[in-house]
């Protein structure tokens, strides 16, 4: 579903991503971990087509993000680390805006808005302007908007930040459900326990370079993911 091939990106002298290659298949939850400034967000933004990269290629469902970004974006949902949503819209207005852009039918959007807004206990607040939402509510709204068009690939940057425990649990449930239905999820996180329990595969990035990747069990071996990460970070 997502193929990153030898991607490199530099900011001036600093190489943010260095010859990174990853392959995320349909049905997989792929965790992306690394210290602050390791290049996670840069990679995720490049995958979504909002950040140009210097070298390499990224394919979404076999289509190049550079060659045909619109085709790729139709299949993607992206949730950034800090969901700055349109403060001038109401919650429901925002969801309809996203649904209109993706051409979601009236019936389908009604069903999905009800399903996910109820799941995240956000239904009652949908008529309120986004500017009045807390960080957690914005995060929930961003997640609902990402699910409204049933994407084939979901890319998330720190999706659990700001969520209450029940919303966090619900996100994990929905992630698993989506992947069981053939969706692929690629997300970054600092919560290693979540990554360990939730992810089918994990990639660890350090200073822009991929230092370890594979099935979660393989990556962590007999120890915990935290131990592996700390060990690799030291080297």
């Amino acid at each position: 579903m997502l193929r990153i091939e030898n991607v490199s990106k530099s900011y001036g002298e600093k190489k943010a991503v260095d010859n990174l290659s990853l392959h995320i298949k349909a049905g997989e939850i792929y965790g992306f971990i690394g210290h602050n400034g390791a290049g996670k967000t840069t990679t995720l933004k490049a995958c979504v087509g909002i950040l140009d990269f210097d070298e390499g290629e990224i394919f979404i469902d076999g289509v190049s993000i550079k060659e045909n970004p619109l085709e790729c974006k139709k299949k993607i949902a992206y949730i950034p680390d800090n969901p700055d949503l349109y403060a001038f819209m109401t919650g429901i207005g925002y969801l309809h805006f996203i649904a209109d852009i993706f051409g979601v039918s009236a019936k389908a959007r009604e069903e999905r808005i009800q399903k996910y807004a109820d799941a995240f206990s956000l239904t009652a607040d949908l008529a309120m302007p986004v500017s009045s939402y807390s960080h957690g509510m914005k995060q929930k709204l961003a997640i609902i908007s990402a699910l409204i068009h049933e994407p084939k690939l979901i890319i998330m940057d720190e999706p659990f930040v700001g969520l209450d425990p029940s919303a966090s649990h619900k996100v994990k449930e929905i992630m698993r459900e989506m992947c069981d239905n053939g969706c692929a999820i690629f997300f970054s996180t600092h919560v290693l326990e979540v990554a360990e329990k939730l992810c089918d595969k994990i990639a660890i990035i350090k200073d822009g370079k991929l230092i370890k990747s594979g099935a979660t069990e393989e990556v962590k071996g007999d120890t915990s993911l935290e131990d592996v990460f700390l060990e690799l970070a030291k080297e």
Binding site: K45, V48, G49, I50, L51, D52, P69, L70, E71, K73, K74, I76, Y78, P80, N82, D84, L85, Y86, A87, F88, M89, G91, I92, G93, H96, F97, I98, A99, D100, I101, F102, G103, V104, S105, A106, R109, E110, I113, Q114, T123, A124, D125, L126, A127, M128, S132
Partner: protein, 530 residues
């Protein structure tokens, strides 16, 4: 505890000059110097303007023994100027300061916070008040030699006068905070207040000479009325001219007014400063909504963003507001219109009308700030499956709606009132539309080249934006070329031909810019990083 709070206020004041509003970083010494120079220029412009007014009044009033009327009148004007200029600032400083929650969570008494903020505001009212009063004092001494007692009393007044203005501004700020904490349409209230202020300003400005002549001619009668209606200013006027008791009465009363206002405000300060600004809760009820088209959704997004913030509307479409006022003004001056209509010079009037409308439309800068206004939310349209060019077109369309519609309406009404022939009127309207189209496209190009996506307040993206400044200069330059071209080619071409050439040139320029936006501009927009 008041001392550290006052120190903080002082630091905030110096930070206004030394820290960039754009990114919060320290300005370079050159930038600080430039900013200070700009402020000084603004201050000098105010001082010079009021000196000229004082100069008109000084000799006739003081010469006829009405020195106290001269000082009382200008003192009252200075106070009114300071009150209007500081009312919204007082509301923001007192009740919406970002550190209110932090300070209230500390062991500081709320009255100390209020007092420190009010004293901080004193600097603002001092600048406004003395922008009027000090030139009046200087003008007085220039014409009637420097005398010790009026000089000392005048300097004392310069410090006391802002205290009264401060009390009234704080009272106005308190009233605004009270009203806006109780109404839903806060933005509408702010916008209506600002438009009302603008209308009052324009009316006063246009009639200033008339009013000043009235004051000069009726100084004595005005003085008689001021003795009762503006008793405090009467005492102030007498005080400066050498009556210490009157001066003491003026000082005592101003300080008493300030103390009263402070007591009133301190009663509700905690409640208003901690009022929930999220305000009214509205519960969502599911409604059926049909699937919309992509471009419609994009245009709706632009429209919502633009019309949500009244200050953005005012700053980006001042020209449209003025263009809508001009036909109303013409309707009230029908005699003048009839006079013009009786002259058989349709071509000349159509050209002048087009020139005026284009000149006013230069202040419409919707597209010039539209990319910047995306701010940190820019990732959303970038990550969605929409063509970046469609997003740019939706911005141009909004500009045309906001600017072209009022322009066409105003020009059409004026053409009818001035009885300009149909063909001339049509070409005049088309010239204006072509010009607005050029402003829209060129503004967008400039904003793509100079975006400011890092701001905490949308107004910063509009007011403190290089793209807006450059865009306005380009628009004015185009109007300049329009005028210059007319003087140059006007003798060789009939007006209708000249306007047709202008339309063609503007359209060609717009088409060329659209071509650039479609290729290069769309790519720049796709990868802008907030």
């Amino acid at each position: 505890m008041l001392k550290p709070l006052l120190k903080k206020q002082l630091r905030e004041f110096t930070a206004f000059f030394t820290l960039s509003k754009k990114d919060g970083k320290r300005r370079s010494p050159l930038a600080i110097f430039g900013f200070a120079l700009l402020m000084l220029y603004a201050l000098c412009a105010i001082v010079v303007m009021f000196y000229l007014i004082a100069d008109m009044l000084c000799v006739p009033l003081v010469g006829s023994g009405l020195a106290w009327v001269y000082f009382a009148f200008l003192g009252a004007i200075g106070t009114a100027f300071a009150c209007i200029g500081s009312a919204f600032g007082a509301k923001v400083q007192l009740y919406e300061a970002k550190d209110n929650d932090l300070l209230l969570s500390m062991p500081i008494k709320p009255w100390e916070i209020l007092l420190s903020r009010m004293l901080g505001l004193y600097a603002m009212t001092f600048a406004f008040c003395n922008g009027v009063f000090l030139p009046a004092l200087v003008c007085y001494f220039y014409h009637f030699s420097v005398q010790i007692l009026p000089l000392i009393f005048g300097v004392i007044t310069a410090f006391i006068l802002p205290i009264g203005a401060l009390a009234i501004s704080c009272l106005l700020g308190w009233l605004i905070a009270l009203v806006t904490s109780k109404i839903r349409a806060k933005n509408l209230f702010t916008m209506l207040f600002t438009i009302a202020f603008l209308i009052v300003y324009f009316v006063l400005y246009s009639k200033m000479n008339e009013y000043l002549q009235f004051v000069i001619a009726n100084g004595e009668a005005l003085g008689a009325k001021m003795k009762t209606a503006l008793w405090l200013f009467y005492q102030m006027g007498l005080g400066i001219t050498g009556k210490p008791l009157s001066l003491l009465a003026f000082i005592g009363c101003f300080i008493a007014v300030f103390a009263l206002v402070y007591l009133l405000l301190s009663k509700s300060f905690l409640r208003l400063a901690t009022a929930n600004r999220g305000g009214f809760r509205k519960k969502y009820k599911a409604k059926h909504r049909a699937k919309g088209k992509v471009f419609t959704a994009l245009f709706k997004r632009e429209t919502l963003r633009f019309f949500k913030n009244p200050m953005v509307i005012l700053n980006c479409s001042l020209g449209s507001i003025l263009l809508l006022i001009i036909p109303v003004f013409a309707l009230f001056n029908m005699d003048f219109c009839r006079e013009i209509a009786s002259i058989n010079a349709d071509g000349l009037f159509a050209t002048i009308l087009a020139l005026i409308a284009c000149g006013v439309a230069t202040t419409n800068i919707v597209t010039a700030s539209s990319v910047s206004l995306e701010g940190k939310t820019i990732w959303q349209v970038q990550s969605l499956p929409v063509d970046a060019f469609s997003v740019l077109v939706s911005k141009i369309l909004l500009h045309l709606c906001v600017s072209a519609l009022p322009t066409v309406l105003a020009v059409a009404v004026l053409c009818v009132l001035l009885k300009i022939g149909v063909w001339y009127a049509l070409v005049c309207v088309l010239t204006c539309v072509a010009f607005v189209g050029f402003c829209a496209t060129s503004g967008l190009l400039i904003n793509l080249k100079m975006p400011n996506l890092h701001f905490t307040n949308e107004i910063t993206a509009v007011k403190q934006s290089m793209s807006v400044l450059v865009s306005m200069l380009v628009n004015m330059g185009a109007v300049g070329l329009f005028v210059g071209g007319y003087f140059w080619f006007g003798k060789y071409l009939p007006e209708i031909g000249y306007l047709a050439i202008c339309i063609a040139v503007l359209l060609l320029a717009s088409v060329a810019i659209i071509g650039w936006l479609n290729k290069r501009g769309a790519r720049i927009f796709s990868y802008l990083q907030a």
